[in-house]
Amino acid sequence: MAWFRKEKKPRQPRREKLEIPADVWEKCEACGHTDIREKFVRNLNVCPSCDHHRRIRAGEYAAILLDDGTIEELEESLRSTDPLGFPEYPARLKKAAKNAGDADALLAVGGMMDGAPVNLGVMDFAFMGGSMGSVVGEKIARLGQRSLERKYPLIIVSASGGARMQEGVLSLMQMAKVSAMLAQLAERRIPYVSILTNPTTGGVSASYAMLGDAIIAEPGAVIGFAGPRVIKQTLGQDLPEGFQTSEFLLDHGMLDTVVHRKELKKTVSQLLRHMSGKPAAAGWTST
């Protein structure tokens, strides 16, 4: 096990420890706690001090949720186009791809979860705020189709400010498109689990994010139809403490459960096994 191996490592000389370069340190945005990066990473980028769930990339969720060595990217050739000729959109896309990669705002993968095959879509906030345009909708639709054909459960991790306005009403229609696909999964009794991370708002929250057979959120995520800024504007006053957080939604009956990132894989796996009539994975029966 990991901690035994560690003991065998030669001790670092004290002098070297003091010379850790500055970029090895990480600071929690929520509480200001500073720690070496590795400690954050080992804790799945959850602050070791305050449990703040930091934003992570789509690939990292795939690695957290799926079994090592089973992850295969799907539909990776889909690219956004500029259907409306929207000002600056091509340049924005280019910049987003350079910063966040070619998967657009959703990484589609197939893989195994505790030995059972699943299809997984993970939104990536780093790509234009996780905005949902035609590529996001099409990728989810194809993942759904793959789930229909192979009877694999579908999991979507949401992180999005909503529909991508640069694709106009076509983005809006992705809400209907994905919902129509999810209805087909539901009719064939193929489980769909929706995981909400910070933030999940707008058109994403008002479609597939809220349509899971189970809806799970990470702690402290902002989840809502309208963004907090918009509501503040309509109200003309500050929002109550904790409004639109995962915990608030749980209290109001909108979520099944709020789960720490460390427990995410196990919870989803448990749910999927219940819903697909499979026995519990090895080693779980006692817990």
């Binding site: 992705q174 809400m175 919902s179 918009v230 109001h252």
Partner: protein, 321 residues
Amino acid sequence: MTTASLEFEKPLVELEKQIEELKRLAGDRQLDVASELAPLEKKLIELRDEIYRNLSPWQRVLVARSNKRPFTLDYLRLAFTDFVELHGDRLYREDPAIVGGWARLDGDSVMVIGHQRGRDTKEIVRRNFGMPHPEGYRKALRLMKLAEKFHVPVLTFIDTMGAWAGLGAEERGQSEAIAHNLFEMSRLKVPILATVIGEGGSGGALGLGVADRVMMLENSVYSVISVEGCAAILWKDGKSPEMREKAASALKITAADLYELRVIDEIVPEPPGGAHADYETVAASLKEALVRHLDELSRLKPDKLVRRRREKFLRMGQYLE
């Protein structure tokens, strides 16, 4: 009916005034003014036609939002008979921002559901600007299920700036309510016809918009985000007319735009001067289109109907591969 509220209609109002003045004079003094009246009336028609043919996208937003336009209840009165309104979501409360109930179209029972705005201040407030809470969407779904139970088609009218953004709406699951409607509308086993009659604002519009056929009135708009919101986000200026014009045109929100993007199936023509200039004519055009589509859809078996509806929405979007 004068239309003074819209800036670009002012020349029309001027002409209308002149015509009325002339008519009054003629009445008072028993004069024959026909020869003077005719050219003025001709000019009015031409000018109105010209203004409306050349509306900019932002001007269309203003037309679509105008309080003078016919609302859902106006179409119910003019194109339908035997309306019985049904209230409430059976869960929390009645939401007057969406109306619905049984009605007859050419004698046949249908379920009509639509956003409803108010015309005077009191009604505008009571109907919350036609911006529904979750209860409105849940009432709508309840009525759709009722229609399905009794094998009756669903006709929806879209006329909202968007679903309401507020504390109660969030607490009671605005997102869930809309999402649930999208899901259920994609599988409802009776024909659904949706028509955008005014503004189709984002998810709040789509919550009544998943249909076998989607139509737009000629001067209606349908958008993923409000024009002001778009301008504010992109150019940090949602207020100036220039930026609104720029956003309105960039977003491609007019009926012609949506037809070209293959998001809608038909544009229902409005009379010269817009729907608000002649309620009866626009209601007749709308009725003709509704009857025609229903006639086509009623020939399809429920499974085929649902399959086609799903395929229609699954095709939507543009991407490279």
